[in-house]
C-alpha cells in the first residue's frame, strides 16, 4: 500500500501524455505546407500516428492494468498458466494484419510522394524548362531542373537542364535557391567532397548528397506561398561546421524568377570578365621580368 503513490504518478503521467497528444498536435506534426509531396508525407504520418496511438494506448493500458489489478495481496494465488496457443496465434496474426494495412496505405500514397507532378497553369514556362532522359520527370516531361551540389559547408545551385553538362555560364547561386511558384522543380543532388543531405523540411524529405552518385527529388511550391522563404539544414554529418550548412529556398513569381535569372547571368558574366582581366594582368606581371 505504501508503494501506491509511485504508481499513481505513473498512471497520471501516462494519462497526461494521452491528453497532451491530441491537444497539442503541433508538438507531433512534421513540417509541411511548402509542396504537395511534403503534405502527402504528412498525411501518411498522421495515418500511422492514429494506428500507433491506438496500439500504444492498448499495450500500455494492458501493462498498467495487469500490474495494479494483479499486485500481490494477502491470500492471492498466482494462476499457473504456461501459455495459450490460440491467444498467441491470435496476436501474432493481429500484429501482421496491422502491418499489412500500413503497407497498403504506404503503397497507395507512394506515387504522389515519389513521382513529380505537372507544373500548375501559372507556373514558369521559360527557356530553362526541359526534358531529361535519365530520371523521373512530371508526366508532361517539363520541370525546372536544378543541380544541387553539397560542399563543406555550403550548397551550390546550378540552373541547368542536364547536370552532367553544366557550363561556366549556367546561372548559379549559393545557399539561397530562388524558384518560381506553381512550378515543378526537380533536383539532381550530389556531394562534392563528403556526404551531405539535402533537406528543407516544409518541401519534403531528405535526400543524401553522395559523392559519385546523383539523388533525385522534387517539389512544387503552391502559388499562395509566393514571397516565402523555406529554411533547411544539412542533415548528414559533414564535418565541424555541419550545423552551419544551411539552405534557403525563396519562392517568387515566374516573372520575378526570369528577372532574377537574367540578373544572375549578367553578374556571372561580369565577374568572369573581371576575373579574366585580373588573370591576364597577373600573368603579365609575373611573366614579364623573366626572359
Amino acid at each position: 500500500m505504501r508503494r501506491k503513490p509511485l504508481f499513481l504518478t505513473l498512471v497520471a503521467l501516462s494519462a497526461l501524455l494521452l491528453i497532451a497528444a491530441p491537444a497539442s498536435a503541433r508538438l507531433f506534426d512534421p513540417e509541411h505546407g511548402g509542396s504537395p509531396n511534403a503534405d502527402r508525407i504528412d498525411t501518411l504520418y498522421w495515418i500511422i500516428f492514429a494506428i500507433a496511438l491506438v496500439i500504444w494506448v492498448m499495450v500500455e493500458g494492458a501493462l498498467l492494468y495487469s500490474l495494479f489489478k494483479f499486485r500481490a495481496r494477502r491470500g492471492a494465488v498466482a494462476a499457473q498458466i504456461r501459455g495459450n496457443t490460440r491467444l498467441e496465434v491470435g496476436w501474432t496474426v493481429g500484429a501482421a494484419v496491422i502491418l499489412v494495412v500500413l503497407a497498403v496505405v504506404t503503397f497507395a500514397l507512394l506515387p504522389g510522394i515519389r513521382n513529380p507532378e505537372n507544373s500548375g497553369p501559372n507556373g514558369y514556362s521559360g527557356a530553362l524548362l526541359a526534358a531529361s532522359p535519365v530520371k523521373k520527370l512530371p508526366p508532361n516531361g517539363k520541370s525546372l531542373n536544378i543541380c544541387v551540389n553539397g560542399q563543406q559547408y555550403i550548397w551550390r545551385f546550378t540552373y541547368a537542364t542536364d547536370c552532367s553538362k553544366t557550363t561556366a555560364l549556367d546561372p548559379f547561386a549559393y545557399e539561397r535557391m530562388v524558384v518560381p511558384v506553381d512550378t515543378t522543380v526537380t533536383l539532381d543532388i550530389t556531394g562534392q567532397d563528403v556526404i551531405h543531405s539535402w533537406w528543407v523540411p516544409a518541401l519534403g524529405g531528405k535526400f543524401d548528397a553522395v559523392p559519385g552518385y546523383v539523388n533525385h527529388t522534387w517539389f512544387k511550391i503552391p502559388a499562395s506561398k509566393v514571397g516565402s522563404v523555406f529554411h533547411g539544414n544539412c542533415a548528414e554529418l559533414c564535418g565541424r561546421n555541419h550545423a552551419d550548412m544551411v539552405a534557403d529556398v525563396q519562392a517568387v513569381t515566374p516573372s520575378q524568377f526570369e528577372k532574377w535569372i537574367s540578373r544572375q547571368q549578367q553578374l556571372i558574366k561580369q565577374a568572369d570578365t573581371a576575373a579574366a582581366q585580373q588573370r591576364k594582368q597577373f600573368q603579365n606581371n609575373t611573366t614579364s621580368p623573366t626572359p
Binding site: 505513473l10 508538438l27 507531433f28 512534421p30 513540417e31 511534403a38 501518411l44 500511422i48 500516428f49 500507433a52 499495450v59 500500455e60 494492458a62 501493462l63 495487469s66 500490474l67 494483479f70 499486485r71 500481490a72 492471492a76 494465488v77 498466482a78 494462476a79 498458466i81 504456461r82 501459455g83 498467441e88 496476436w91 501474432t92 500484429a95 501482421a96 502491418l99 503497407a103 515519389r114 563543406q152 567532397d193 563528403v194 556526404i195 543531405s197 533537406w199 523540411p201 524529405g205 543524401d208 553522395v210 559523392p211 559519385g212 552518385y213 546523383v214 539523388n215 529554411h231 533547411g232 539544414n233 542533415a235 548528414e236 554529418l237 564535418g239 565541424r240 561546421n241 555541419h242 550545423a243
Partner: protein, 558 residues
C-alpha cells in the same frame, strides 16, 4: 541413455566425493589480474563497462549542456563532434555489448549448471582485449579524438577529411572489442551447446541463456563484416587503396552497406540479452511461469534472423531504387511481429499473477513501457517516405534512445538489482533502488519524449548549435533538465551499489525464491559453482527443488 541416468547425482542418495582437495579462494590484486574464473571475469566485465557507461553518460551531459540554449558557445564544434562520437561508440562498443557479455559470463555457467565457461583462458583473453580496445580509444583523447560519429561514414572518415589519427584509434577500438566479442561469442556458444546440466534440453534452457546464445550467433555473423569494413578504411587511409573513394571507382555507399550489415544486427545484439533478463525476472516476481516459453525463445531466433535482413533501412535517404526501399521497409515491418509477440507474452505473464513490486520488477516494467514507445516510433521510421522526413533528426535520436535505454539499459539495471545478491551475497537497498528507478524513468522521458518534437520541427542530429526559431529553445531546455534528472537516478544506483557491497543485508542463496539454477548455490558461489549439479526436469528447476525439499520435510515430520 542408461549412462546418463546412472550419473545423475541428484537421484543418488549415497554421498559422493565432489572435491579432492579444498583450497582457499585466492585473494589480492594478482589473483584478479590472472583469474580465469568466469565469475571474477564477469565481475571485471561489469565493473569496467559500468565505468565506461559513466564516461559515456558524462559526454552526453556535456552535449546536453551545450544544447541547453540556442547558439550556445560553451563547447567548440570540434569538441562537440568528438563528444557525440565518443558517446555513441562508448555506449555501444564499451558498455552495452560487453555489459551483456559480463552478465553472460557470470550467469550462463551458473544457470546451466556448469562449473565454468568452456574455455576459461579464452574468456580472460576476451576481457583483456576489451580493456585494450577501451584504452586505445580513450587514449586518443590525449592526441586527437575521432570526430566522424560512431558510424564514421566515408568520405568524412577518409584521410583527406579526417587527417588526424582519431579515426585510426576508432578503427582499432572496433578491431579489439570486435575480437573480444568474437572470442567471447565462440566461448558462449561452446559452453551453452556442451555444458548444460543433465536433463536440460533446449526446451528447458533458461530464456536468458537463449538470448545469450542468439547474441553469440549474431556476433559471429556480424562482426567479421565490420572488421573487414574498417580494415578497408584503414588501407584507404594509409596504404593507398580506394575502396570508398568515388573518384577512383570506389563507393562511399559500400561503407554504409557493410557498416549497417553489422550495425543493425548490433542493435539486436544489444537488446536481445535485455529481453532475456526481462524474461527471467518477470515470472519470478509475478510468481507465475513465463507465458509462452516456446514463443519467446522462437521469437528471439526470428528477430535475429530478420535483423540480418533489414540493414538498409538506415539508408533510406541514399540514392536507391524504389524496389530496394520497399524490400527493406517490409522487412523492417516483419520484425515488429516477433517483437510484439514478446511484449504480449510478458504482459500475459503478469496477468493473474501476484505481482511483487521489487526494484528489479519495476525496471522490467519501465523497460516494457519504454521499449513499446521505441518500437512504435520504429514503425514510423520503417515507412520510408516518412523516414525521409524523420531520419537524421532528433526524432531518430529519441527513437534509438527509447530502444536502447528502454531495451538495454533498463534491462541491465533490472539485472543489476536482481543478481547483485547472488554476486555479492548482499541485498541492494530497496528504497534507494526505487528512488533510482523513479528518477531514471521520469528523467528519461523528460529528456527524450520532447526530442521527437525537436526532430519534427526540423532539428537535425549531430549539430553543435541551433538557431532560436520556433520552440526549439524550450524543447532543448526541457531535454537538458531531463538528462540531469536521469543522471541523478543513475548516481543513486551507484551509491546504492557502493553502500551495499559491504553493508547490505545478507542475501542467502535464494532471496527472491527464483526459478533458475544460479540460486541453487551459495551467494556468492564458490569457485567451482556447484558441488552437486541437480538433474533438470523443467524450465524452473529451482521451483522443482523447493517443492522436493518441502515434500521431504513433510515426510520427515510425518
Amino acid at each position: 541413455m542408461a549412462a546418463t541416468v546412472d550419473t545423475a547425482p541428484a537421484l543418488k542418495p549415497t554421498p559422493q566425493v565432489t572435491a579432492r582437495q579444498v583450497t582457499a579462494p585466492p585473494r589480492g590484486m594478482t589473483s584478479w589480474l590472472t583469474t580465469t574464473d568466469h565469475k571474477r571475469i564477469g565481475i571485471m566485465y561489469m565493473v569496467t563497462t559500468f565505468v565506461f557507461f559513466l564516461m559515456g553518460g558524462t559526454e552526453a551531459l556535456m552535449m546536453r549542456l551545450q544544447l541547453g540554449a540556442p547558439n550556445n558557445t560553451l563547447i567548440t564544434p570540434q569538441t562537440y563532434n568528438a563528444l557525440f562520437t565518443m558517446h555513441g561508440t562508448t555506449m555501444i562498443f564499451l558498455f552495452v555489448v560487453p555489459m551483456m557479455a559480463g552478465f553472460g559470463n557470470y550467469f550462463v555457467p551458473l544457470m546451466i549448471g556448469a562449473r565454468d565457461m568452456a574455455f576459461p583462458k579464452l574468456n580472460a583473453l576476451s576481457y583483456w582485449l576489451l580493456v585494450a580496445g577501451g584504452v586505445v580509444f580513450y587514449g586518443s583523447l590525449f592526441f586527437s579524438a575521432p570526430e566522424a560519429g560512431w558510424t564514421s561514414y566515408t568520405p568524412l572518415s577518409s584521410i583527406a577529411y579526417s587527417p588526424t589519427n582519431g579515426i585510426d584509434a576508432w578503427i582499432f577500438l572496433v578491431h579489439l572489442t570486435g575480437l573480444s566479442s568474437l572470442v567471447g561469442a565462440v566461448n558462449f556458444y561452446a559452453t551453452i551447446a556442451n555444458m548444460r546440466a543433465p536433463g536440460m534440453g533446449w526446451g528447458r534452457l533458461p530464456l536468458f541463456v537463449w538470448t545469450i546464445l542468439v547474441y553469440s550467433i549474431l556476433l559471429i555473423l556480424a562482426l567479421p563484416v565490420i572488421a573487414a569494413a574498417v580494415t578497408l578504411l584503414l588501407t584507404d587511409r594509409h596504404f593507398g587503396t580506394h575502396f570508398y573513394d568515388p573518384s577512383q571507382g570506389g563507393s562511399p555507399l559500400l561503407w554504409q552497406h557493410l557498416f549497417w550489415f553489422f550495425g543493425h544486427p548490433e542493435v539486436y545484439i544489444m537488446v536481445l540479452p535485455g529481453f532475456g533478463i526481462i524474461s527471467e525476472v518477470l515470472p519470478v516476481f509475478a510468481r507465475k511461469p513465463i507465458f509462452g516459453y516456446k514463443a519467446i525463445a522462437a521469437s528471439t531466433v526470428v528477430i535475429a534472423f530478420l535483423g540480418l535482413l533489414v540493414w538498409a533501412h538506415h539508408m533510406f535517404a541514399t540514392p536507391s531504387p524504389s524496389v530496394v526501399l520497399v524490400f527493406f521497409m517490409l522487412g523492417s515491418f516483419l520484425i515488429a511481429v516477433p517483437t510484439g509477440v514478446k511484449i504480449f507474452n510478458w504482459i500475459a505473464t503478469l496477468w493473474r499473477g501476484t505481482v511483487e513490486f521489487t526494484t528489479p520488477l519495476l525496471f522490467c516494467v519501465g523497460f516494457i513501457g519504454t521499449f513499446v514507445m521505441g518500437g512504435i516510433t520504429g514503425i514510423f521510421l520503417a515507412v520510408f517516405p516518412v523516414d525521409w522526413q524523420l531520419t537524421d533528426t532528433y526524432f531518430v535520436v529519441a527513437h534509438l534512445h527509447y530502444v536502447l535505454m528502454g531495451g538495454a539499459v533498463f534491462g541491465i539495471f533490472a539485472g543489476i538489482y536482481y543478481w547483485f545478491p547472488k554476486i555479492t551475497g548482499r541485498m541492494l537497498n530497496e528504497t534507494l533502488g526505487k528512488t533510482s528507478f523513479a528518477l531514471m524513468l521520469v528523467g528519461f522521458h523528460v529528456t527524450f519524449l520532447i526530442q521527437h518534437s525537436m526532430g519534427l520541427s526540423g532539428m537535425p542530429r549531430r549539430i553543435y548549435r541551433y538557431p532560436d526559431v520556433g520552440n526549439l529553445a524550450t524543447y532543448n531546455m526541457i531535454s537538458t533538465v531531463g538528462s540531469f534528472i536521469l543522471a541523478l537516478g543513475i548516481l543513486v544506483t551507484v551509491i546504492n551499489v557502493v553502500r551495499s557491497v559491504n553493508n547490505g543485508v545478507i542475501a542467502g542463496p535464494d532471496p527472491w525464491k527464483a526459478n533458475t539454477l544460479e540460486w541453487f548455490t551459495t551467494s556468492p558461489p564458490p569457485v567451482n559453482n556447484f558441488d552437486v549439479v541437480p538433474r533438470v526436469r523443467s524450465v524452473e528447476p529451482m521451483k522443482d527443488i523447493r517443492r522436493q525439499v518441502e515434500r521431504q520435510e513433510t515426510l520427515v515430520r510425518a
